[in-house]
Symmetry: D4
Subunit: 251 residues, 8 copies
Amino acid sequence: MITETKKILEGVKNGSISVDDALLKLKTEPYDDLGYAKVDLHRKIRQGAAEVIYGAGKTPGQITGIIDSMLKHDQKQILITRLSPDSADIIKKEYPIMYFNDASIAAIGEFPEPDGIGKVVVATGGTSDIPVAEEAALTAEFFGNEVTRLYDVGVAGLHRLLSHSKEIMNASVIIAVAGMEGALASVIGSMADCPVIAVPTSVGYGSSFNGLSALLSMLNSCASGVSVVNIDNGFGAGYLASRINHMEAKK
Amino acid sequence: MITETKKILEGVKNGSISVDDALLKLKTEPYDDLGYAKVDLHRKIRQGAAEVIYGAGKTPGQITGIIDSMLKHDQKQILITRLSPDSADIIKKEYPIMYFNDASIAAIGEFPEPDGIGKVVVATGGTSDIPVAEEAALTAEFFGNEVTRLYDVGVAGLHRLLSHSKEIMNASVIIAVAGMEGALASVIGSMADCPVIAVPTSVGYGSSFNGLSALLSMLNSCASGVSVVNIDNGFGAGYLASRINHMEAKK
Amino acid sequence: MITETKKILEGVKNGSISVDDALLKLKTEPYDDLGYAKVDLHRKIRQGAAEVIYGAGKTPGQITGIIDSMLKHDQKQILITRLSPDSADIIKKEYPIMYFNDASIAAIGEFPEPDGIGKVVVATGGTSDIPVAEEAALTAEFFGNEVTRLYDVGVAGLHRLLSHSKEIMNASVIIAVAGMEGALASVIGSMADCPVIAVPTSVGYGSSFNGLSALLSMLNSCASGVSVVNIDNGFGAGYLASRINHMEAKK
Amino acid sequence: MITETKKILEGVKNGSISVDDALLKLKTEPYDDLGYAKVDLHRKIRQGAAEVIYGAGKTPGQITGIIDSMLKHDQKQILITRLSPDSADIIKKEYPIMYFNDASIAAIGEFPEPDGIGKVVVATGGTSDIPVAEEAALTAEFFGNEVTRLYDVGVAGLHRLLSHSKEIMNASVIIAVAGMEGALASVIGSMADCPVIAVPTSVGYGSSFNGLSALLSMLNSCASGVSVVNIDNGFGAGYLASRINHMEAKK
Amino acid sequence: MITETKKILEGVKNGSISVDDALLKLKTEPYDDLGYAKVDLHRKIRQGAAEVIYGAGKTPGQITGIIDSMLKHDQKQILITRLSPDSADIIKKEYPIMYFNDASIAAIGEFPEPDGIGKVVVATGGTSDIPVAEEAALTAEFFGNEVTRLYDVGVAGLHRLLSHSKEIMNASVIIAVAGMEGALASVIGSMADCPVIAVPTSVGYGSSFNGLSALLSMLNSCASGVSVVNIDNGFGAGYLASRINHMEAKK
Amino acid sequence: MITETKKILEGVKNGSISVDDALLKLKTEPYDDLGYAKVDLHRKIRQGAAEVIYGAGKTPGQITGIIDSMLKHDQKQILITRLSPDSADIIKKEYPIMYFNDASIAAIGEFPEPDGIGKVVVATGGTSDIPVAEEAALTAEFFGNEVTRLYDVGVAGLHRLLSHSKEIMNASVIIAVAGMEGALASVIGSMADCPVIAVPTSVGYGSSFNGLSALLSMLNSCASGVSVVNIDNGFGAGYLASRINHMEAKK
Amino acid sequence: MITETKKILEGVKNGSISVDDALLKLKTEPYDDLGYAKVDLHRKIRQGAAEVIYGAGKTPGQITGIIDSMLKHDQKQILITRLSPDSADIIKKEYPIMYFNDASIAAIGEFPEPDGIGKVVVATGGTSDIPVAEEAALTAEFFGNEVTRLYDVGVAGLHRLLSHSKEIMNASVIIAVAGMEGALASVIGSMADCPVIAVPTSVGYGSSFNGLSALLSMLNSCASGVSVVNIDNGFGAGYLASRINHMEAKK
Amino acid sequence: MITETKKILEGVKNGSISVDDALLKLKTEPYDDLGYAKVDLHRKIRQGAAEVIYGAGKTPGQITGIIDSMLKHDQKQILITRLSPDSADIIKKEYPIMYFNDASIAAIGEFPEPDGIGKVVVATGGTSDIPVAEEAALTAEFFGNEVTRLYDVGVAGLHRLLSHSKEIMNASVIIAVAGMEGALASVIGSMADCPVIAVPTSVGYGSSFNGLSALLSMLNSCASGVSVVNIDNGFGAGYLASRINHMEAKK
């Protein structure tokens, strides 16, 4: 941002940009205003990579409007999360999306080759946690990470988890997805020496209170190196895992 | 109220009103008792302006009964909030209502010309907050305010908000509508020097707990000049904004 | 902010400011960095008026450091909220503060003459709510408002409130301070036609849950024109009341 | 209970009851065991009056089974609460029930003449609270009380309530039914000198949290003489009101 | 209130009261304004009986100020609740109060002879609930009720309660005071046929959450005829019990 | 587990197992990896008895996949809990399941003869608690326990419970299933001298908060010997009861 | 109870007991009424064993009164839980108590020889959980159980727990004591095949919410065979473990 | 772990380790059992680096016992968190600790040179958040990271934060520490492209509910790349930041 500002100011100084134009530029960020949405075109410029539409609470018409704006601005790789099958069917008529039922995710454009530091492991406590885990896994893959899936390795059958200790020891980042008591994050945290992203899920009943139990459990993990995202927030975990897994680019 | 009481007492003194009639008058307020509702005709007398029916939890039959009572008492401008499309369709057969789908609001009578001090800005964090924002915006317009809409300017893309700093600096009142973490209210509060009415919305999932997260966030805003209304209470925000924006009339 | 940016750019254009200096200026805001605090000197420049230190969680040494910075930058009117008597005693040795025991507030400099649109009424449900109410009242007075105090007018003795209907009808803004069930805000809201700022207090016991009961009650007020600030946030209410009461300046 | 025990013991002493029979009698209470329900026939014996079936969570078949058992044991007056229209339709085919749509209540047998001390007033804050209020009112009537209904007298239009001060001052017991902020109970409590039973309702949205706001508000009422029943528990309020209104029978 | 209004109006008609004086009278209620408190002198006029000061959150100076005002207005019987021993010691120097340590209650004036319909039974689940129970019992006695105390009869030793079934069957009103799981209210409710006032206490630890557990338990009582007051609200229960026990006066 | 490890090591020593094979064996547990589920075959080997599939959140296809894997591994007795009627219908086409509508449980294989120490008593507060109770009762029977059902014996009709004191006194383990205020657990706990497993249910409304009230009540039971499982967790209670009832096998 | 009733009835029949005496006996239970406490002497008669005083919320004077009553009634083994050191010092002057600082427990009389089925294992997640664990362990020992202590074996260092798998596999009952995320209960539950009693502790900070996190976690344990007692309820766990460990006596 | 197992097995095969010794080794992990604590010596072996003692809830004697064990096992760098000044004074007498008052942290041994990928930025919303921030910063430094502190840059004065955009854009990991509404995490998240660890603090009052407001706000952040640790958990954030900042070592 600072560099851009400097360029504008130098333009003012050398007369190539008028004061009013500069003022306008400084105020104008690269987004497309559709009225109901201000499409962020900023990240593409900065990163030249994938962009994400959060599908929940948007009509199919609003979503296609945003897709349209993105494609026009040369944004070719688009991820749409929390998209219902019905909306996907409508959008499919206009754009060539791949739709992943389990994860309620749609994608436009190719998935890139993995280019992160290492592997992202996505583990779940049970079978019912898979939709959230798939949201995380697909997001990570969409942002260029290699993903290993370890599903149904909850602590109720500790041996299932222990038998995958190799994958856990070698992971670059681990995403631990679990509902109910959410103990998976703590147990993985005690086995791993990489960052662990805990995703509480709303799987459970009664005093799980729609994921509150797992959320609190994960926040209070006695294992170090664990942090937590929102209940059922597979996307957030996958995106953060990608950031961590691409750390070396910063050096 | 005091003036009316004085008039009644003077009537008693000069004999134009009997003691029993005066007693009755003092006890009787101008409302129409429909059994299931006591229609407030008080405000009209006092303000000669728009009146509001809260549509949630009322049958179409009850609503038309109330409209009927109002129209009979010369209440020509009526706003109906939280009205489902189905109920709107039924009512439409009897009364000429305008129905705003986004906001679930119906109106009878013309919207007045804006006559407040300045502009009311209605801003939202995202696209999904628009229904609540429209409830606020339409209410403010119905009560005679000029409204500027700034939708989808949440803090995740801070530049979108900053690029509208002029509208924010010049607003008379700002209504900040946001779900999830509700940070919009704090950021707008730090930019504006007018009253900011924060409306938490139930947009979000997991630990947003149907708007609790945004509500608490807004109540704890470290920015001064911010106050909060109930979750999803667009009407309340719009109504209060109108009161503030018409302040000078009090002087 | 925009005007300042324009001035800087024009300076760049006409050569009176170098590009690097402009870049610096654009980035530099008028605050004083004390390490533990970045003292905001912005508001003074913009408003030429009173400034506020939030005393809670700061050591006397930190507070005097901030006072010192402010005085050096010509900030002569300072309000310190949530200041314990002990801290006040320590600070008193260095600076000539007035300390208000009831409100735990200290002030440096004179209170200005009231210059708002009308009167700010501060009402409380009971005697125990007075400390919060005084925080609100003193804040409003410190920012140039005339304040009327109506204490102990809770709904348990409705006639006490009704007998002050004149003050309520004539107010410019009303601050309703109440703990327990917080019904005061709704009843005042039904009597007044000006903005009502509700301040829930932590007064009560048992299921008042330290103000939660009053907070929820006020958020759900069926009276229109009511908004809410944090539990015990007298300062926030007083500050907001002042903003509303000075509205005409915006026109 | 003690008298019955004494009779049994005297029967044992004078030989008219064997030890084993006495033991059995002491253990056996007058209920009818249907497997899925143990129908209480105790109250009839003791009071010769109306009996109640809580309909929620019972199948129509279970309910008719219980009715059948009651009728066989000479229980002629039966109230069925929380009965869905669909279940009512099914039951109607076998038993001559009156069904009250508003209150989701069905009754078998005649409503008795009022024989309590005075009148039971049932007041609501709004129109949407009427179903709960009707549950209370019908229950009170079913148990022999005269009921006065004051609907839609919430504090947002205080005059509507004040204009009924006569009914409130003369009531024997008042049932105050309100959702949202539940201030009705406090205001009525401050006007009345009889017991006030507060019924919070789940009417409202957002931070009303399905009646929690009204519940807490009512529990923290600063008005004396107010007690509270469960959210939406119209039946409980009506039943308790009847007990209080029939107090003199105890003397 | 209505009668007084009528008298005033007749005074206006017959010229004995001027319009302005009448207006003043209609607005003026009998309370004494001490600034920090508006002492309600209304009830005395209406009832000629005892008056109550809620001691919590008031300084000894404020309390003696209120006592002083009351005594001046011929209010000779005063109850002060939630009074700390230290405050009691200070007040004792000026006024002849009786102080009850267990209940943190002070009284001025004689306790009257019981004149209610029947007996008020105050029962507790355990020994630790006694302070709240004594607040209830003393309040009831202060307002002219005969009180029977049944302490430590919690359901953990059901026989202790069953052995007092006679007192429970014969009571006019029962106050059930219990912390922890609060089951006492339900069990007493199933044995009694009089109104039962349940008082949850903050006795317990862990998931009793300072009385929340007992509160919820009592609100959800499956026994009919039970209503609930705030956690630890012995006074409220005693006061309400007195109202119920004096019902016949209404007839 | 230790014995198996020892066997493997001895195999290594005497050459019958290679180092790599041993390493593999130590890491490999007897489960079948279906991708979406890792079927635990461990318990069968250890106990030769029944196995359980938690049906909630699994598709019929996933469930039949797991059944298939189990049957292939000689697991002939299978319990499926929380199975919807629709899923049951689909599975029925492939496998000979018995489906229990009340309990939403399906079973494959014969129920064994009871072989525990004594009887397991399953009691409910009301009729609506029966589904949870049946889940517990069937589970206990499936694991070889004799079960006595005492339904609808809640404390509102205390005599219904007291008349079954013999069953309660003679039980080996008691499962107390109740919603609303959950007092059943405390009352049974005060009568019994065996372990009592309390199962709160989501039966109730309003402030029962979907079972929270009963849960807290049971956790705070003043009766000793009571422990609690999750809301509506009939299976957990039945399984634990079986463990306790088979204690002697450990000696 | 039934046998005693029968004896009384036979006494009535054969004339050795009068009707009035029998009535009295049936109503009288063996407790000693001290006014502030009704000392339960019932259990001694039934079990001839240890008795417990819950010390919290009782004055030293009340406690010595209860001890006195017990000793007079030949109750020689007494456990006093939740006794502060100060109270212990006062009681020590009158009675020869052993006081255990860690557990805040005092005992009168000898600890018996272990006579249960097997060993009770008491495990804690961390060092800070030891006070609660000691309350459980001492209680179990006081009631005749052999106890194995495994302290500081939380899942953060999973190997510490796994290295004690032998003790866990051989236990008769396991008490798992843990704060924070409470995962210990699930992990032990997955290793053991005996009943596991989970005790959440208030150890932790922030979102542990004084034990709520551990409580919810344990209630939602995906491991079967786990039940839960109140937060910090070491006594309850120890007492229940003893009941389970003495099961065979029931056969 | 697997490599060690393999070594042991090869030792068994070649006879250098007996079966019983191998069994023992496989079960024995490198920890020192002090009874009240099992000191983890595992990490040192694996990482040769710093070790941490969680000081809260441990007596000074227990802490010195653990230090003693560590030093004996060549663990020379020890961090002690949540250590009160009083405990620090006691420990200081035996061991040469550095004590950091602000952070309540003590350290034994030298702080290493920074060797991570880049800089860790620690930012706070206000002055009161500094203790938690210092716990994070010192932890990160203790584990070999370079730390930049940005204190008091909360969103109420947005310019203070924006003026440090350079530090934020260049950070390797950012720790955002804030109480009240916790908006800092979202705003930083929208500016940064590195992982952001949000630490809610208990700073605030009223409806901040001891950090709950900030916690929920941060969990619901609409900015991607943000994850959350427990309220006030500076250590956890610092430790995790170090793991992320040392990622490249994994490649």
